[in-house]
């Protein structure tokens, strides 16, 4: 066990703590969400990054660096994913769009990591087609009544708060989407249905059922009908952070693989001297360089005036697909050892696969890029 490091920086201390942990084995994965690790993450100050550095370019750069470091160091990729959700869905959203009163009410607990949050967007009938969602928020006597069901909501089973996106109805008129901050303890909110997944099993994900949930008007984030614009900005931050995590995870794959190919000897020499084997690691590193640089560049551009929709979509598609390829390459580099149940590598692969699905399906993002370039169908 390492000696306690005297450090003023809780963040470096936290990373050291992570390095000391063994990789998640299938047993610990089966235990699901690690409260201990979450609390350690909260204690590191990760969730206050935007409070300290702001929500513009410098804040996002700092958050990207930290999440990438988390991905590089942590054995628990599900936790990284839950942490990204906390930052994007709740902390960034409140800081960027909520009024002071709402911020003061919910940010302290969110940034201390005591209140876990998430955002409820997706429904059974509305995935990529966000506008077809049927969850409604009806204005009645100065408060909203929410009805609907959301699913595939990260953190829902453990969340204290959720940002719910719903179709707003005021005086019988559809006013478009709005965002509402709700507490999961309120009557009518049911987050008890988890959805077990093939990977990211330490990041709880579930359904959210809303039945006549009374939401005070002051809990609406931003203006009525601003939901689509807010969602657009929130998803940009979620992508930057989630895929920064992916970059870090690919860096883990590289260091593991380099160690392995140097140690493993066949035909009298290390397998790393086989260029084809080495190239599998090189491919991953190239993706890390390209993906990492793009994320940084996009973060820089956030303070500016240009529309970053195309670069964000490109980064997401590129990194998520490279992450899957890298995990497969890492398994192949490790040979039979990489395929054992005790090896963490297959879980890297399972954890990488949903990257092409969440935050916007890759197939649709590619189509979106084509449309934005002016390609007519």
């Amino acid at each position: 066990m390492s000696t306690t490091t005297l450090t003023d920086d809780p963040w470096s201390g936290f990373l050291d703590h992570l390095r000391d942990r063994t990789s998640t084995t299938s047993r610990s994965r089966a235990e699901g969400f690690s409260t201990e690790l979450w609390n350690a993450t909260a204690g590191s100050g990760l969730f206050s990054t935007l409070a300290v550095e702001g929500i513009g370019s410098s804040g996002m750069r700092a958050a990207i660096d930290r999440i990438r470091a988390l991905g590089r160091t942590s054995p628990d990729r599900g936790l990284t994913f839950s942490a990204v959700t906390q930052l994007a869905s709740t902390i960034y959203c409140l800081r960027a769009f909520a009024d002071k009163e709402l911020q003061e009410h919910y940010l302290p607990a969110a940034e201390a990591g005591n209140a876990i949050g998430g955002h409820a967007i997706t429904e059974a009938g509305a995935g990529s087609d966000v506008m077809s969602m049927s969850t409604t928020a009806s204005l009645r006597d100065g408060h909203y009544v929410l009805n609907g069901t959301k699913r595939f909501i990260t953190n829902a089973p453990i969340a204290s708060t959720l940002v719910v996106y719903a179709k707003t109805v005021e005086d019988g008129v559809d006013k478009g989407l709005s965002a509402f901050l709700i507490e999961t303890g309120w009557p009518g909110v049911d987050t008890s249905q988890p959805m077990p997944t093939a990977g990211l099993s330490t990041s709880p994900i579930g359904e959210v059922s809303l039945q006549d949930v009374q939401v005070p008007a002051r809990n609406r984030i931003g203006h009525t009908g601003a939901g689509l614009l807010i969602l657009d900005q929130v998803m940009k931050r979620e992508i930057l952070l989630a895929f920064a995590g992916n970059i870090g995870e690919m860096e883990q794959l590289v260091s593991r693989s380099v160690r392995y190919v140097n140690d493993r000897k066949q035909f009298g020499t290390s397998i790393g001297s086989n260029q084809l084997v080495a190239d599998r690691i090189v491919e991953t590193q190239m993706a890390i360089e390209l993906g990492g640089a793009l994320l940084e560049s996009i973060a820089e551009r956030l303070d500016g005036f240009e529309d970053v929709t195309i670069p964000i979509a490109a980064a997401k598609v590129f990194i998520s697909e490279a992450n899957v390829d890298s995990a497969i390459n890492a398994i192949r580099v490790h040979g039979g050892n990489g395929y054992l149940a005790a090896s963490p590598l297959p879980t890297f692969l399972l954890d990488a696969i949903p990257g092409a699905i969440y935050s916007g399906s890759n197939d649709l993002l590619r189509t979106k890029i084509a449309t934005m370039l002016g390609v007519t169908s």
Binding site: A96, G176, L229
Partner: protein, 86 residues
Amino acid sequence: MPTINDVKQYIAETFATDITADQLPSDVDLLSTGILTSVTTVQLLGWCARTYKIPINTIPINPDELKTPEGIAGFIETNRTDSVTA
């Protein structure tokens, strides 16, 4: 040239191609008349950002402001950071 004329010009050229800029009243509700949609509003914002140097990624936006040409012109005037010719 006043901002509102640029706005009308952009809208007539990009969205309602069958109307000319001077046919567009300053207070016409662009959403209820189908000239703008919730999705093309985002496109309009991109044009505002590029043309008038507005940091759309970081400022709060009230969609009600963007319903009419005069509302859009007002939004631009409030948030533009390019040098404005006197």
